[in-house]
């Protein structure tokens, strides 16, 4: 993960040239992903044509299902909400050089913790207090879980990619063990779940929409974390460590603390996504928490090049693809895996496009002089 290293600015002859150069450089970060999206759309069109299906119809349906109307937008944004937070779970550690793929586990256990801590407080704590406690519990649990992967990495040299994945499987087993055992609500007959927090305690939606507060919170978290990672000493130290841990250590940076802190922030984000699943959708912890948001978040973060702010539009794009998937299935008779395949096309092409950064002369305007 060296994507974060910043290029030293080339010596600029004048202020005006400097500005236009900077704009050119900045535009690289928009132009290349857009180009990649167009290329993946073209490749997918070729794929559909080869199957004798109409790409025009396909992309028309994608547009209508994902972005074509107010309803479609709500559909898209609702699906994007958990993805913002789970993508942040990947993006933050990536800055310090950790590849965490265990956001799913932190989400599941975060949601579980939120639902469990609520049970003794039902009817005691008023809804806002209850929700705040639940959110904190979820974040703490998530932070603990991914923090563990960070700590193992630092203290025992255990590879965090693999350990966070293993921790996900273990998290799911832990959740099922309790939800179907000691902490099961006996009334939850055929879908084992914890005691529901009740409609009166559920977190509402953003006024005038069906979109729950998870999206707004996720967006706020993305902005905050963007500031943290790019404008503070902490973020700077984390980036140095991510670029070259040995140099960071030589400079006396607290590499271990930074590593674990980044992992914990990441886990807190995923845990919070679990809280929103419980507080806005399910009302309790149950098997539906294992929905793969954590895994989709990995894709989102990589496509956003681990930039917290960029996570938001990419999550919306993925939400839109998922939202339109059903329509494509119903109208064109294509299998549900079409969405997965399109995601795969986009992901592969976008990653391949990484190689273009810094190699297209136009964006390097000043370098030519």
């Amino acid at each position: 993960m060296t994507a974060t290293a910043e290029r030293p600015a080339a010596a600029a002859p004048s202020a005006a040239d400097d500005l236009s150069d900077r704009l050119r450089r900045a535009s690289e970060y928009f132009a290349i992903p857009l180009l990649a999206l167009v290329v993946s759309a073209l490749l997918f069109s070729a794929f559909l044509l080869a199957l004798g299906r109409s790409p025009v119809e396909f992309f028309d349906l994608m547009w209508r299902g994902g972005f074509g109307s107010a309803f479609s937008w709500q559909n898209t944004l609702q699906r994007a909400a958990p993805l913002v937070l789970t993508a942040l779970c990947v993006a933050i550690p990536a800055r310090i050089g950790l590849v965490i793929i265990g956001g799913e586990g932190a989400l599941v256990l975060g949601g579980f913790a939120a639902a469990v801590i609520a049970v003794p407080l039902l009817g005691v704590a008023p809804a806002p207090v209850l929700l705040a406690i639940m959110a904190l519990a979820a974040m703490a649990m998530g932070a603990l879980w991914i923090g563990l992967a960070g700590a193992l990495r630092h203290s025992r040299g255990v590879n965090e990619t693999i350990s966070s994945l293993l921790l996900t499987y273990i998290a799911i087993a832990v959740m099922y063990f309790f939800v179907e055992g000691a902490l099961r609500d006996p009334r939850s007959l055929n879908k084992p779940a914890t005691v529901p927090i009740g409609a009166e305690n559920m977190l509402g939606t953003i006024p005038g929409t069906d979109i729950h507060w998870g999206l707004a919170t996720g967006a706020a978290a993305a902005v905050l974390l963007q500031v943290l990672m790019s404008r503070t000493t902490f973020g700077f130290a984390a980036r140095i460590t991510g670029g070259n841990p040995r140099a960071a250590r030589a400079q006396g940076l607290p590499v271990g603390t930074l590593t674990i802190a980044c992992a914990m922030i990441a886990g807190a984000c995923a845990g919070l996504a679990g809280f929103f699943e419980v507080a806005t959708v399910h009302g309790s912890a149950n098997g539906s928490l294992v929905a793969g948001y954590g895994f989709t978040g990995i894709l989102v973060s990589f496509l956003a090049r681990h930039t917290p702010l960029a996570v938001i539009p990419v999550a919306v794009l993925f939400g839109g693809i998922a939202a339109a998937g059903g329509l494509v299935q119903r109208r064109m008779g294509l299998p549900d895996a079409t969405v997965l395949l399109l995601q795969g096309f986009i992901f592969v092409v976008l990653l391949a496009s990484e190689t273009l950064y810094g190699r297209l002369a136009w964006f390097r305007g000043g370098d030519r002089a």
Partner: protein
Amino acid sequence: MTDNLISRRTLLQGTAAAGALAATGPLGGLNAQAPLTVGILYVGPRDDFGYSQAHAVGAAELKKVPGVKVVEEENVPETIAVQRSMESMINLDGAKLIIATSFGYFDPHMLAMAAKYPKVEFRHAVGLWDKDKHPQNAGSYFGYLDQAHYVNGIAAGLVTKSKKIGFVAAKPIPSVLRNINAVLLGARKNAPDATVQVVFTGDWSVPVREAEATNALIGSGCDIVTCHVDSPKVVIETAERRGVMTLGHNASQASLAPKGFITGAEYKWSTIYKGFADNLAKNQKLPNWVRGGYDLDFVQNTAYGAAATDGARRAADAAIAEIKKGAPIFAGTIKDNKGNVVIPATLDNYAPPLEGMNYLVEGVVGSTT
């Protein structure tokens, strides 16, 4: 899936949307110009040899009704995706009836949508609807598969030599426990010393573990294996290869076990769906609460396979005739396998206490925790 068909289907869609707007009456009524759109959601693939396939087979009957158009989505997870897909079917396809086939679709997803779209009818495939608590445009329908599993047990009791029947089950939830207990009670009718050995896999679709569970059961001496998982294909095929007899579940698996198949418990959703179609054709409001078993032709046993002896066939046929007349399955005083009395006196096949079954009856080897 030829091009021709697709374009015709697309054409139909246009008229459906226009028709839905003009429709009136409880469900819009039916006429040649305005086909009534029914949206169906499945939790798994439609061709899984199991739960979703059983529904899809029934839905195929619905498609045959003139003036009814069916739109389907498969692999819809029990998350916010359920609500969005329903809403998409309503808003973009003009669906006036939504059929939600998975248990976890009901609360909160279908309830939320039923409240939001009072002019659309919603029906859910498990008996969870309560007229005092839930919206009037929602409802439940269900087939009581334990009746067919009981018949499975009757046949099994007459063909087993080891007197041990293996049961691969997903989770210890009431609907699963009820089927396990029904098999045991059926088997003990003719083989009082028969036992049913249960292995829980912990999830609805884990093929490798299901195969391992089947092997483990055969290893411990079972000469008949049956299951309650989403897709029984792996269990039935594995048992057939090991030369062990099998009982089916959900849909027909007879073709998978030409040598060892005895019979199977099958849903017959087509009866219910055709009933719905009848109501629609006559412009009547759909019933909110439909449930039944053999008495209403909502369940059936798969045509006997090679392993069903003449005696087993006769006994099973007789049992079916009796159940149709209302003969109780949970008859007399019944103890659980820990020795506690769980059913003090005979219960009717539709008695509410059976819905909350959380025990395995005496003779079943296994534990619900």
